[in-house]
Point group: C2
Chain length 337, copies 2
């Protein structure tokens, strides 16, 4: 029924172990033997059994993608990242298990242990804020499980992928400055996300570069959700001197700002310029279309997975690669009133 390693060995006239070596890309096989075996595998349509490999050896060809599912707003971000990860897995014959983790309680410990012990997960890919969740990192280290991070805060010790979000945020705000805005507000994201810090830092950098004062009144706390964007905007609209531009730390909050502007009777971009960050599909589904920073989530997922696999295959220590950002200038920003 099923073609086994042994069958390939018999057909080739070598021992099972040699076939195994070829399968695992070990270097100590004579090239001619190697070719023979490879050919036989191909023609017999041999497909190794992950279960057997996992049981006998230490490998499972399984990676897990870990993500936080407490707050769902960014579901399209996660979907894109996952898509990229799967793409990379495909290329290296790995399989991926999706694993949402609730950060509260001890639940995640159980789940991580289950992944590692039960399934012999070889490695882990994580999205923020899990990337910097100490108890989790600790546990992974204890288990000796390599991990690759997407946009981690602590970049020194990480492998994975990142973007210069601070620079991107600065560029975004500089764009507002160039349009003549002088009262520029910022809506901050959830505190434990590196993204919130970087984007805020970029905002400050831009103000400084433009010689504009930093006014705490114009900085409001949000939490990355549409609703929090609405609330933050209302707060800003209650100020004696309204900002002429608002830079929200992500698109969902920017959408909230535009909602609140509508509610308040402010016309975007005539009375108020609005911009966000991420370039989610939402950005082009708003009226007017949202100026934002494009973050290549899909590519980031793919690159993070590829880095992990480099490590798993012993090809190197793994790197933290940086992807470029791109400003998407659309109709939600215009010259200051």
């Amino acid at each position: 029924m099923r073609v086994r390693l042994e069958d390939v060995a018999r057909a080739t006239g070598v021992s099972p172990k040699t076939v195994s070596r070829v399968l695992n890309e070990e270097s100590s096989v004579k090239e001619s033997t190697r070719q023979k075996v490879l050919a036989a595998m191909e023609s017999m349509n041999y497909r190794p059994s992950p279960a057997a490999r996992g049981l006998a050896g230490s490998r499972s060809f399984l990676v897990a993608m870990l993500y936080d599912n407490n707050d769902n707003p960014a579901s399209t971000y996660l979907a894109e990242v996952q898509d990229g990860v799967l793409d990379a897995c495909d290329a290296h014959r790995y399989s991926m298990m999706a694993c949402p983790l609730r950060m509260r309680g001890q639940d995640f410990i159980r789940r991580v242990d289950a992944l590692v012990f039960d399934h012999h997960i070889e490695g882990v890919i994580m999205t923020p804020p899990l990337t910097d969740y100490a108890p989790l990192l600790q546990r992974l280290k204890e288990h000796g499980v390599p991990h690759s991070s997407i946009s981690p805060v602590h970049r020194e010790a990480s492998i994975g992928v990142c973007m210069d979000e601070q620079q991107a945020a600065k560029a975004m705000v500089m764009h507002l400055v160039e349009l003549g805005h002088r009262r520029i507000a910022h809506i901050v994201g959830i505190a434990n996300h590196g993204a919130s810090r970087w984007r805020m830092a970029g905002y400050k950098d831009a103000l400084a570069a433009a010689g504009l004062p930093f006014d705490p009144q114009y900085v409001v706390q949000g939490e990355f959700s549409f609703g929090s964007g609405v609330l933050a905007a209302r707060e800003l609209f209650a100020l004696p001197e309204l900002p002429t531009a608002i830079f929200a730390a992500n698109d969902d909050m920017a959408a909230g700002v535009m909602w609140a502007a509508n509610e308040r009777g402010l016309k975007v971009p005539r009375d108020l310029s609005v911009c966000g960050f991420d370039d989610t599909p939402l950005a082009t589904q708003l009226w007017p279309p949202l100026t934002t920073v494009r973050q290549p989530s899909r590519d980031m997922g793919k690159l993070a997975a590829l880095q992990l696999m480099e490590v798993l295959r012993g090809r190197g220590p793994g790197l933290l690669v940086q992807v470029p950002y791109a400003l998407q200038l659309r109709e939600s920003t215009a010259a200051a009133p």
Copy 2:
């Protein structure tokens, strides 16, 4: 290091086979023995190895979620479904592999075979339009792999979960009728989705029930994406007599309609009522908030997975369960002008 079945057996004073029987919930074990074994498993923190179980037996405790990733627009729908599926898996100690399938070409055959052979997938959960993709169903049947469908077109032969979308669409349109609208347009979704047919049928039902004529001019083809909604709306706006209400087959297209209305200078809902279907997060992020039909995607994912597991555990033939819809009346619909 690892606690094995054998360890539990030794601790309990029974044979490994008996422990195995308890583990697999076989009925032929004396209750007292069963309790003893269960207690030992608990206290020793025994966790069976899926790899070993998969290798020795026919089970793998792995299910796959298959989805189409040609068109990404509904990524939040997929994310919600996946969340529900994972929830159900968790409850029954199953693991899930996410598996995007490209419907074009023979690629999906390879992937399905890989899933079945390599990983001994026990069952499959599918979302539209895969649920009714004949070559795929054919292949699954050949492999003897049980599958559970979410909103399949062919309901007779399916297990899984569905919603009475036709009834829901009818109710949605009846709402417009009650608001006094008489020229009600409909934007249809992608042709091979059952959803498109049902929602269109419900639209017609409502017109008939209200004694309104069915005018083909007011029915425009879309493809579930925001952009297609914009195009469809422009088409409708070019008509000599504009509709006073537009029922789009999903929220993304409804958002497109609102975008186009803005572009055209039409005020929603004063000049035009707009409603959608699905109640994605987008619905409450538009201005004005979108009237739509709530579809409990997360629950649907969970229920579909639970039905599959009923089958896998030999508890029954599996059912096609129906979930209720709910109209979400918001501010995008109002009395006809």
